[in-house]
């Protein structure tokens, strides 16, 4: 069967509908993705299901921290996302940004990207891999634990990462962003 609409085949029409459909999807899914809460039971889809309850409890307990050398001003969410995406590489004072993250498969990393940046780890991985293997940039440095993250953040000028939200004694501070 062939739908004859001028010179276009049925597949071309289907493709067109598909492309039109993609933006329409945004309205239905935005609320789910932008939402800060991760109450939805399938929000965390990790391998370690044991951690699920722990993650839920800690949702609001992860925050973004920077080395004290980082210019103290308010940053936008778009800027912070671009920093973790490795697309923004220089602080307003011209110094190099150094990004630390936990590995992709760490539940705390998934929790952080979703609750703080409203993005999924696979979206970051896609961006980092494209930068790394096209020569346009690099991936963040991976650390194994929050302890290591704290050490690296304290000792690396211009660095940014995330930690359990609490008061730390040392050369770091919470990033001010909106």
């Amino acid at each position: 069967m062939r739908i004859t609409a001028g010179k276009y085949s049925q597949w071309q029409i289907l493709l067109l509908l598909f492309l039109l459909f993609i933006p329409a999807l945004s309205y239905s899914t935005d609320s789910l993705i932008r939402s800060d809460s991760i109450d939805s039971s399938d929000a965390i889809n990790g391998s370690d299901s044991i951690n699920k309850s722990a993650e839920k409890k800690n949702t609001d307990d992860i925050d973004i921290y920077v080395n004290s050398s980082v210019p103290d001003q308010q940053y936008s969410l778009a800027e912070v996302r671009a920093i973790f995406a490795m697309r923004k590489t220089i602080w307003p004072d011209g110094t190099k940004i150094k990004v630390f993250v936990l590995p992709d498969n760490a539940s705390k990393h998934r929790l952080f990207t979703k609750s703080r940046l409203h993005m999924f780890p696979h979206q970051f991985r896609r961006i980092w891999d494209r930068l790394t293997f096209s020569g346009a940039g690099q991936a963040p440095v991976e650390v194994e634990s929050f302890e290591e993250m704290f050490d690296r953040l304290s000792n690396t000028p211009g660095s940014i990462g995330y930690l359990k939200a609490q008061h730390y004694h040392g050369n770091i501070r919470k990033l001010n962003y909106e």
Binding site: L19, I22, E79, M119, F133, S134, G135, A139
Partner: protein, 402 residues
């Protein structure tokens, strides 16, 4: 032996860390990919007909060096074996200097100089890196392996600009340079080779980038909500000239391509949907009496869906179509010169599964059901009259990176 060393080195380095940081300012990354291909008929990436071929293999090693906050140097060496087209070639994949000219709160722009990957569609810049591609065999209508070397990269300059807004990022890349053409597969795709009906002499000369008219590529993309929705429009304009050798009957002809690719992608938590459409105007001129001037328009598109069962398990499927000449979709012109009609198109359905064993190792398997033979290379299928219209392809892939 080469492949064994590559494999061992990759395993060794990947055991260290995902990013191998030599010094604060220097990072090294690499990958190794081995694929196996089996086809019911026809040869794809080696002698795959009725047997598994391992002749599809890629390895890369790259350096990223940032001596200053606004200056970086990038280099990647690429090894590739792909059937009889790429025979253990080792090549500079990219090598450029990146000068960040201006940084402002919501964006930056800069200039790259050297050998730069061509931004075409969603995947061309990293098409040889398995971790970044959506399937083992890329949608051939757009990421055509027959003309891969030609569309891969350019030697010249690229201006880039990225602008952040609250809702999404705008990204613009404009490249100007000389394209590469490292093998004669493209020549075979352009000049109709001798067929049983027309036993013409084979062209003896070579295709060369037209030095006087460099190619121009541009891509504008918009990524909404951190890449949840991606839209891109790519344009590439390139010219090649044919240099005849000796007293052959083919004249000093030239070919010109104008390619437009429209891309859209949705990246949800569990579902990724991708659609791309290519429209390409081709011009073949002044090759002489044996090859009258023609200017066909080729067209191709696909839709792909991927579903993440778990964060490291993915099921994916695709339907794609491509036509060498959109005004001759069933290939009657191809048949007239003595080649099979099914050489002019391909329509295929694919199903696959991907398992990321950990962040540095990945396995994929996929099945393709194909109607048409336009994907096939002449190097692997020298006699087109022996190709089959309907065929199946099964592919397996293992990839490792650091």
């Amino acid at each position: 032996m080469n492949r064994l060393y590559l494999f061992l080195i990759s395993i060794f380095l990947s055991s260290y860390a995902l990013a191998y940081e030599v010094t604060e300012n220097l990072q090294i990354h690499g990958f190794f990919t081995q694929s196996g291909v089996y086809t019911s008929d026809n040869n794809m990436y080696g002698n795959s007909e009725d047997s598994m071929t391992g002749d599809l293999r890629e390895a890369g090693l790259n350096l990223f060096y940032t001596p200053l906050s606004n200056l970086s140097f990038s280099f990647q060496g690429l090894y590739r074996k792909a059937g009889k087209v790429d025979n253990d070639s080792v090549d500079v994949d990219y090598a450029f200097m990146d000068i960040n000219l201006k940084n402002y709160a919501s964006g930056h722009y800069g200039l790259r100089l050297g050998r730069i990957k061509n931004p075409i569609g969603l995947y061309n810049e990293t098409r040889d890196v398995a971790f970044t591609t959506p399937s083992i065999i890329l949608p051939q209508g757009i990421y055509f392996d027959r003309s891969r070397s030609f569309l891969l990269s350019s030697d010249g300059g690229q201006l880039y600009w990225e602008h952040l807004t609250e809702n999404g990022n705008f990204n613009l890349k404009v490249s100007y340079g000389v394209t590469r053409n490292d093998n004669d597969e493209l020549l075979k795709a352009i000049i109709p080779y001798p067929t049983s009906k027309f036993p013409l002499p084979e062209p003896q000369g070579e295709l060369e980038p037209s030095g006087t008219i460099p190619s121009f590529l541009t891509q504008i993309s918009y990524e909404q909500n951190g890449g949840e929705y991606i839209y891109a429009l790519s344009f590439a304009d390139a010219e090649l000239k044919y240099n005849p050798k000796g007293n052959e009957l083919y004249q000093k002809g030239h070919t010109k391509f104008d390619m437009y690719v429209l891309s859209a992608q949705y990246n949800g938590e569990k579902i990724t949907l991708t659609g791309e459409y290519k429209y390409q105007e081709n011009e073949f001129k002044d090759f002489g009496v044996l090859y009258p001037d023609v200017s066909p328009v080729s067209e191709s598109w696909y839709i792909q869906a991927a579903y993440r069962l778990k964060y490291n398990w993915q099921l994916y499927g695709r339907y794609d179509e491509s036509y060498s000449d959109k005004n001759d979709r069933n290939g009657s012109n191809t048949k007239r010169v003595g080649d099979p009609a099914h050489m002019a198109y391909s329509k295929s359905t694919m199903l696959g599964v991907r398992w990321d064993i950990n962040t540095s190792m990945m396995i994929r398997a996929e099945y393709h059901n194909i109607d048409g033979t336009s994907w096939l290379t002449s190097a692997d299928n020298p006699d087109r009259s022996h190709t089959e219209r309907y065929w199946d392809l099964f592919a397996l892939q293992f990839s490792i990176r650091f």
